[in-house]
């Protein structure tokens, strides 16, 4: 694979800023390519898409990594030729032959899709598809045509400069907008399914992120940190270089447990997390917090509680999963390669810390009084938490590095 086409996604919507963000996106791509490909290459803008070329093959690792970069619609490792029907047929046959040889004794359905961007070219897209399809059918008896959802698809693109790109492989990107095009966020991460999915979704809306984890030691053991690092290593592939902060939270929890009505305990834990996260985000010049809240999923995610938390926050709290069903979230979690990591067992103090009967509809007056009292009581602990965290750094290829 010496040529890769990289199609951008929503960037074309961004009228006048487009060229700026195109450059930003190119920088992010360059960063990843340089890591995986130690040979010379060129990355050019060709009709609003990137064409990546080198004399040496690009590795699978590179292709599989680029797929995570927000703002890309699709990634196609292609063979380049000229717009001559015989060459197109030969190359298609060769690609198909290689694939079938890798899967002996398996039958496949397929179709051929041809797009002609340069309408001045003499070849007609319908005719090319038909000719190539005919050739493949006559050579390979394991193939049959199926137009709707075939197992294999030959993509042929006839474009400017008499160029033709052919491939059997089209990898879908996460789409959306390039990182940093929508500012920066601080994501509150837990070991579950929701917050990691929320992070990727906002990544694909162009929010570059750092991560914060509230560590309930001694209620929870240090093994959980390993799990969080594994999760962030995967999330980092959807980010530029990112930071994970592990904030010690046990002492704050102990005080809340000692001083407050157990009914409000979980909500107050969340309140304290928001206070600490806002302060850290402010110091780090972030624009928003991101959480994995889905409305009503647990008692502390009812709208009244979210309202109270929003009122106490100095930054907007972005909740991309707010209207999503659990099964949609799980599906995305699979798609983003997060599911199996979220499934790893970790010991979780929820059953111990959760009150027997959490408040469903918080009393605003009581809440205001409790929070006022806690603000005094916890002042020093909250300040300490905003500076006494452990830091870890991750590259866009999911490696932990020193900084």
């Amino acid at each position: 694979m010496k040529t890769i086409l990289i199609n951008v996604d929503e960037l074309w919507l961004r009228g006048r800023n487009r060229s700026h963000f195109f450059r930003v996106l190119k920088g992010q791509l360059d960063n990843r390519i340089k890591h995986f490909h130690q040979f010379k290459y060129s990355l050019k803008n060709e009709n609003q898409r990137f064409v990546l070329k080198s004399d040496h093959d690009f590795s699978r690792d590179l292709i599989e990594n680029i797929v995570h970069l927000p703002g890309l619609n699709s990634i196609l490792p292609v063979i380049e030729t000229t717009c001559e029907i015989d060459k197109i047929k030969d190359i298609s046959q060769q690609l198909m032959g290689d694939l079938l040889a890798r899967n002996p004794s398996q039958l496949f359905t397929f179709k051929v899709t041809t797009i002609r961007s340069d309408k001045r070219l003499p070849l007609e897209s319908m005719q090319v598809s038909k000719d190539v399809g005919g050739r493949l059918l006559s050579v390979f008896d394991k193939l049959s045509v199926q137009i709707k959802k075939p197992e294999l698809e030959v993509h042929i693109k006839l474009t400017f400069g008499n160029k033709c790109y052919i491939t059997l492989e089209k990898l879908e990107g996460v789409g959306g907008l390039p990182l940093k095009s929508s500012g920066e966020g601080l994501t509150l991460i837990s070991g579950g399914f929701d917050s990691p999915v929320a992070s990727v979704m906002m990544g694909a809306r162009g929010v570059d992120q750092s991560f914060i984890f509230f560590h309930a030691y001694p209620f929870v053991g240090n093994e959980v940190v390993e799990k969080i690092k594994k999760l962030v290593a995967q999330l980092a592939k959807f980010q530029s270089h990112c930071e994970l902060m592990i904030v010690p939270f046990g002492n704050i929890q102990k005080k809340i447990i000692a001083h407050c009505d157990p009914k409000y305990r979980t909500n107050l834990f969340r309140w304290a997390m928001i206070q600490v996260a806002c302060e850290i985000a402010r110091k780090k010049k972030k624009d928003c917090l991101i959480t994995g809240d889905s409305l009503g999923q647990v008692a502390s995610q009812v709208i009244q509680t979210l309202r109270l938390l929003d009122q106490s926050a100095s930054l907007p709290i972005v909740r991309p999963l707010i209207g999503m069903q659990k099964k949609e979230i799980i599906k995305k979690s699979h798609r983003f390669g997060l599911h199996d990591i979220s499934c790893l067992p970790h010991d979780d103090a929820c059953s111990l810390l959760a009150p027997k009967s959490p408040v469903i509809k918080p009393d605003f007056y009581l809440w205001a009084k409790t929070v006022e009292h806690l603000t005094d009581e916890l002042k020093e602990d909250l300040i300490k938490a905003t500076s006494s965290y452990q830091k870890y750094f991750f590259t866009p290829w999911g490696e932990e590095v020193e900084r």
Binding site: Y217, P218, F219, G221, G250, K254, I257, A258, P262, P345, D347, A349, L352, L353
Partner: protein
């Protein structure tokens, strides 16, 4: 700081450290015939003589209790006779359950002792080896009395009886010189000696695990480490003095005192209290997983164990407790404190104070 994990490993005693530093300067190979070699040989043999005064039969040095156990079991594997092991014993013994076709499992009572009556009904002459921990590393319970061991040896004199005394040797409790067993494993780092050395008492010869230069009467080849031997023998001499009957009596009182105190704070089960060494205090906290306590104590610089050191990280079945009939939930409520010679009334008071603080933090959650 309170270190209450001596059953996992006991810190070097001060005299031990001193003797080892000195011994690091002794150069040469004890097998050499020149003067330096002869000097080293003399040191080793004098240590051996001391060890032989403390146990039955002859004595060799090994690298660990694990090696001593493995040596004895291995020497019986070719022999097509039954081997009795405890399923929940230390892995250096129990791992052999999967490696031999003639393994029988020793029955236990829920208080940690061997179910002697049942076992006597099952035990017959078709047995080559019995290998068992004298004191269980997790519960701290003395699994068999000296009398029970002797009943078996009298009835079945041909059975090789191997006792792993890693947890109990040098603790001032048993006079192992008087034990009529065929071999005994002992461990240096459980009594404040260095890690990396163990020992084996034996009555008659066996097939060695390591072949080579014929060291240790040809039963365990490897050039002996003089400074480890020096540390080990110094440790044993020190603990023999420290673990006096008065100190043991005091420790037993401190332990019972603590358990009475703790029972007022939390609901406990104490099946092992009456049968364990004074140095080991093990119990179940009936309402909470003990890992949480472990961390609350750790936060206050008190170090203890929620099960044996080698198995406490994984949340799988704890075989030592499973063997006694405790289910997984119960196993996770297990906590062990193990005391060294420095534990006294003032340490107990500190332990009580911190325990009380922890209970105050946890109680609102219950």
């Amino acid at each position: 700081m309170l270190y209450l994990d001596h059953a996992a490993s006991s810190p070097l005693l001060p005299g031990v450290k001193k003797s080892m530093i000195e011994a690091l300067d002794w150069s040469g190979n004890p097998a050499s015939s020149h003067m330096l070699g002869r000097e080293l040989k003399k040191k080793i043999e004098s240590a051996r003589t001391f060890f032989e005064s403390q146990g039955p039969g002859k004595f060799i040095f090994t690298s660990s209790a694990t090696e001593s156990n493995n040596t004895i079991i291995n020497s019986h594997l070719l022999n097509e006779k039954k081997i009795w092991l405890a399923k929940g014993d230390h892995p250096s013994l129990s791992k052999y359950i999967d490696h031999h076709n003639f393994i029988k499992e020793i029955p236990f009572l829920s208080d940690g002792r061997v179910n002697f009556d049942q076992w006597m009904r099952e035990l017959n002459t078709d047995v080559g080896l019995i290998a068992l921990s004298h004191v269980d590393g997790q519960t701290g319970v003395v699994t068999m009395t000296e009398e029970q061991i002797h009943i078996i040896k009298e009835k079945f004199p041909h059975i090789w009886f191997h006792l792993d005394a890693s947890q109990s040797f040098g603790k001032g409790i048993f006079e192992y010189q008087k034990f009529k067993v065929d071999s005994i494993t002992i461990c240096s780092h459980k009594i404040g000696g260095p890690i990396g050395i163990g020992g084996l008492y034996y009555q008659s010869s066996f097939k060695p695990l390591l072949l080579g230069g014929g060291h240790e009467y040809g039963l365990r080849s490897s050039t002996p480490s003089v400074f480890l031997i020096e540390g080990f023998v110094t440790a044993l001499k020190e603990v023999n003095i420290i673990w006096s009957s008065e100190k043991l009596k005091e420790l037993k009182e401190l332990k019972d005192d603590y358990l009475i105190f703790l029972k007022q704070e939390l609901p406990l089960s104490l099946p092992f209290q009456d049968y364990s060494l004074p140095q080991i205090c093990s119990f179940f906290i009936d309402i909470l997983t003990s890992d949480i306590f472990l961390r609350f104590f750790e936060e206050k610089e008190i170090y203890l164990s929620s099960s044996a050191a080698c198995s406490s990280k994984n949340k799988k079945e704890n075989p030592a407790l499973a063997q006694l009939g405790y289910d997984k939930k119960k196993q996770q409520q297990f906590l062990r404190m193990s005391f060294g010679t420095e534990f006294d009334r003032s340490a107990l008071n500190e332990l009580k104070l911190k325990t009380h603080q922890i209970c105050e933090e946890i109680k609102p959650l219950l």
